[in-house]
Each structure stands twice: as C-alpha cells, then as structure tokens.
C-alpha cells in the first residue's frame, strides 16, 4: 500500500468510529408494526395525534401502519407474527384469546362507536324486526353490539356480513335496511344515502366498551420500555384531544384524507369517546357474556371474564405512564 492509501484507510476508520455513537443512537428507534382498520381514524384518534405531534418519536418509536378490512382480519395477521401492536374491537380480542392467541391489552381507546344507521323508512327499532342489518363481519364488536341491540328492543334481525366499504352501497340499494358499523363510516353512510339517519347513535349500554390497544406479549415482557413508550404516547394523544378538541379534529380530518372529512368527523364525534384509557367493566362483562351465549367463544382456554382480565389486561404500563405525565400539558 502506498502512503496515500494508508492515510485514506486510517481516515476512513476514524470516521467510522466517530460515527458509531450516531448509529447507536439512531438504532435506539424501535419500529412497531401497528394494525388497524379502514376508515377508523376518528376511533383511533389518540394514535393519529401521537403520530402527527411526534409523541411516538419522542419515545423512540417509529410506527408502521397496516390496515385491514376489520378487526378479525387484523388479528389473523397478528397471529402470524406480522404485527407488534393491534388496535381493534373487544369482541375480536376475546375471540382470539379463546382460540389461543396471546397478547397484552395496554389500554382501552374507544367507547361507544356502535352507531346504528337505518334507511328512511325505518323509523323505530320495531320497524327493523325481521329485516336485514349489515355489519363489518360476524366476528366484529359491532356484530355483538347488534345482538345486544336486538335483545334490548326485543327484535330479531338478520345479520348480514360485508366488507366495511360495501355497507354504504348495500344500504343505498336496500339490500340491507340498517347498518351497524364504526365511525366515520357510519357518518359517511348517513350523508351518502338519501334519507338515512342515526336510528341509534349510542349503544344500548351507555359508554360501552368498544376498542382496545394490544401489544404482543413478547414486547411487553422482553422490551417493557417500548411498551411503556407506546402507551405513554397514546395517553398524550388522549390528553391532547381532551384539551384541544378542534385542533385534534383537524388533524384527524387530515389523516382521513377524504372530501368533507372535517364535516364527517364532526358528525361522527358524538358517537365515540376516545379519551378514556381504562376499559369500562360492566359493558365489557356484558360483551363477554354475549359472546359466550352466541357461542362465538368457549371456556376451553379462557375460563371466564376475570380469567381474561387477569391474563390479558395489564394496566402497569398505563399507571407508569400516568405517573410520569403528571402535570404534563399538551401543546397545541
């Protein structure tokens, strides 16, 4: 080697050594693959706020979002190991646990979110008796909410499953007379179908549990700091929505990326509550019972609701996050 070459090599090695800390600190960013559903930006508002305001980045987390037609589809991919975190309905989570899936619920994220939209000729619950109501899938929380609605009003309807994006067309054609699905799809339906209205904007159980956030047990046990960071970012998102609702709606509308997004979001926000991180126990139990009765779950692996909460719900990350965020004020 010539002298010139030797100096070049030495310089290169020095640069590499100096670069190591930079690389090391860059590697401190963890990537989390997060699964959610189509048209659910409002329901998972805290997540979107956290992305937009950089709350995840502050925790050293980069999120990669994967979207699915409904909760059960999201969980199918989760079971394969394709996702690290999932946001979906309580129903799908209970069903998955019943079939041997493993995860940790770190936070609840949505309450309500079970609006029933009906065609103009359906004026009251009894008008729906014997008719067809569309849901995003047999395994969704909304299908279960429909069952509870039937029970409450003493009616019987035919549950018609379809892709969430097809429900609007089906209601318009009269193929179904009602649709029970998540926001903002329900709002879209009300605006798109002439004469359609919210027959039941709120679920039969007030403040009913709807959607949760899970992290894989592997991360919860192996990388608890990541689980904590993820939870904290979501919590920040919730606080932001609480304090700056209008700004939050604007951010969510931007994420929705559809025409009239802000109007849809405003129409939809009354049907969902996204600022409470704790699961509502009464409605959760009722949901569990309903799933058991309709044979969607069995007690083979999960012995009861208490067994479920013991094994699958872990508020420790939430508690630590709340502790560390005492006095934290969200900046607009």
């Amino acid at each position: 080697m010539t002298l010139m070459t030797r100096w070049m090599v030495a310089l290169l090695m020095v640069l590499m050594v100096l670069a190591l800390p930079v690389v090391a600190s860059a590697q401190k960013m963890t990537t989390l693959r997060v699964g959610d559903q189509i048209g659910s930006e409002l329901d998972y508002g805290p997540y979107w706020i956290a992305v937009e305001k950089g709350y995840f980045k502050e925790e050293g987390i980069t999120t990669v979002r994967k979207t699915y037609p409904n909760g059960p589809a999201t969980l199918l991919d989760y079971n394969k190991g394709e996702l690290d975190a999932v946001m979906a309905g309580l129903g799908p989570f209970l069903q998955a646990a019943s079939q041997g899936s493993d995860y940790v619920i770190v936070s609840s994220i949505t309450k309500g979110n079970a609006p029933l939209v009906a065609r103009p000729e359906i004026k009251a619950a009894k008008d729906l008796n014997g008719k067809r109501v569309g849901t995003p899938g047999l395994g969704t929380i909304h299908d279960t909410m429909l069952t509870l609605y039937e029970r409450e009003h003493g009616i019987k309807v035919e549950h018609v499953s379809a892709k969430i994006t097809d429900l609007v067309a089906m209601l318009e054609k009269g193929e179904v007379q009602g649709v029970l699905c998540w926001e903002t799809v329900a709002a879209t339906t009300v605006r798109a179908v002439k004469g359609a209205h919210y027959l039941a904007p709120l679920p039969v159980i007030p403040g009913a549990e709807s959607l949760e956030v899970i992290i894989s047990r592997k991360i919860a046990q192996g990388q608890p700091e990541v689980a904590l960071g993820f939870t904290r970012a979501l919590l920040k998102g919730m606080r932001y929505i609480d304090k700056h609702e209008d700004a939050a709606l604007a951010i969510i509308a931007k994420a929705m990326n559809v025409p009239d997004a802000i109007e849809l979001a405003r129409l939809a926000k009354n049907q969902v509550k996204v600022t409470d991180p704790y699961m509502e126990p009464k409605s959760s139990q009722i949901i569990y019972q309903s799933l058991l009765e309709t044979k969607k779950i069995t007690t083979e692996r999960v012995k009861g609701y208490d067994d479920f909460t013991q094994r699958f719900v872990d508020y420790s990350f939430l508690k630590k996050a709340e502790e560390s965020l005492k006095g934290w004020e969200p900046k607009k």
């Binding site: 409904n70 079939q99 899936s101 499953s161 044979k295």
Partner: protein, 281 residues
C-alpha cells in the same frame, strides 16, 4: 396369417366386451387403493401438526370434531351445514344452467357463421380474460342477493362452454356432413344430426371446466359478503372468529362437493359417449 388378419378378412369384430367379474374385481382394487391414499394423506396431516405445533394448525381429529358439531348443531349464526351446502349448490346450478343455455347456442352460432365471430371478436374476447372475481366489486354496487351470485357464476361457466362449443364446430368432419348432403339433407338436419352430436363431447368437456370455474367463483363470491348462507360465507364467518377447524371443514366440503360434481359430469360423459373409446379426463 395371424388372428387379427383372419378376423379382418372375415370381418369379425375384434373388440370383446370385458367380463363382469373382472370388472368388479378391478373396481374393488381401485377403491382399496384410493382408501389407502386417503389414509396416507391423513397420516401426513397428523404428522404435520406434530411438526408445526401451532394453535392455529388443526389436527384431523379437531377438524373431525368440528364437522360433527357443525353437522349436529349448525353454525354460530344458527344455519345448518345442509343449508350452507344447499345454498351454494343452488346458486351454482342457476348460474351454470344460464351458462349452458347461453353458451351452447352462441357457440354454435359463432362456430357456424365465422364472419359473425370474426366481426365481434375484438369487442367481446377481452371479457373472457376478466376473472369473475374481478367483477365482484361492481356486482356489489349494482346487484343484490341471488342475482348477484347467478351473474358471477354465469361469468365463470359461460366462457369455457362457449369457447369449447365454438372451437368444436369447425372440427366437425366434412365427410360426415357430406354423407348427409349427398342424401339431400338441409342445413337444419345437418346441424341437429351431425354438428351437435360431433360437438357434444367438446361441449361437455367445456361444461366440466366451466363447472370448476363456477364452483371456485361461488366460494369467492360468498366470501365477499351480502348473504348469510353458503359454504364460502360460513368459512369467512369462522375466519372472523379465528376458528380454524371449522374453516378446514368448509374447505373439505367445498373440495368434496366439487369433486362429486365433476365425477357426475364424467359419468354422464361416459354414458353419452359410449361410442368413443378414448377416456376423457
């Protein structure tokens, strides 16, 4: 002079019918072989569950249990297994029948009047290459319920039947037509008594292919939503509940029913075409 030549000179038929007992013995042997093959598949499946060892890979035993439960108690939504099967088959039958009713006459027409075919080819052929599944989003918006399925099935069945008929017509032996012509037959007679019998094997071959495509379409169509019954729908419902054994039950039933229908068509073919000694697959 060998036996064959003697037979030829005397003009005696050389094809001897198979004696009954030998035939029965052979079909018994075939049955036993098939049973052994099925058992081998089951054994491999069971072995695979030991290797893969996932909660989501069911064993033959789990699937069998799920089948019994479904057969006796119906599914989660309250429909019996028979209901699901009957609905899938009914949709298939309706669409398939439409495929035959439209495909055969159109194929004959286009086959006999080449200019008609040549003149419409560019406009119509591209449709053949759109898989029925690609039509599903459009049909969800434009059609509802039973007609939607019939249309999708018809798409799957029509083209194979139409093309098989179309292609078979020019392959009718001119000498067969000449026999009729010499004796003074008109076009209608030749169509009914020469063209159709000649093309019938091709038509039935096309029907079997069409049946296969149609059956696969019905499953995809039912999965896409809108109806509460059907094997495809049943499978998706259980997929939502992450109940894999029931999904596998659905798959097996779909395979068995498809196989049964294919066999039925094959039997019909064999009966109708006793005059051919080539075996069709």
């Amino acid at each position: 002079m060998g036996a064959e030549e003697v037979a030829d000179v005397l003009g005696v038929a050389t094809a001897a019918p198979v004696p009954r007992e030998a035939g029965r013995r052979r079909s018994l042997r075939v049955l036993l072989h098939n049973a052994a093959a099925a058992l081998a598949v089951l054994a491999a499946w069971q072995a695979a569950t030991f290797i893969v060892h996932s909660v989501f890979f069911p064993s033959p035993w789990q699937v069998a249990r799920a089948f019994v439960d479904l057969a006796l108690n119906g599914d989660v939504a309250g429909h019996t297994l028979l209901t699901h099967m009957a609905w899938s088959m009914a949709r298939l039958a309706a669409g398939f029948l439409m495929g035959v009713v439209l495909g055969v006459p159109l194929g004959l027409l286009m086959g006999l009047y080449r200019p008609l075919y040549a003149g419409t080819r560019a406009a119509l052929e591209p449709f053949r290459f759109i898989p029925p599944i690609a039509w599903i989003p459009l049909t969800i918006v434009l059609l509802s319920g039973f007609p939607r399925y019939v249309f999708l099935i018809w798409l799957g069945a029509f083209f194979p039947i139409f093309v098989a008929t179309l292609v078979g017509v020019p392959r009718v032996e001119p000498i067969h037509k000449n026999v009729a012509k010499v004796h003074g037959a008109g076009r209608w007679y030749i169509l009914r008594k020469v063209v159709v019998p000649s093309v019938l094997p091709d038509i039935l071959g096309g029907m079997r292919v069409g049946m296969g495509t149609a059956w696969m379409t019905i499953v995809a169509a039912e999965m896409s939503g809108g109806e509460t019954t059907g094997l495809g729908r049943m499978m998706v419902n259980y997929a939502e509940l992450i109940r894999i054994p029931e999904i596998v039950v659905g798959m097996i039933l779909i395979g068995v029913l498809g196989f049964a229908m294919n066999e039925l068509l094959l039997r019909i073919e064999r009966r109708l075409f006793r005059w051919r000694w080539e075996v069709t697959l």
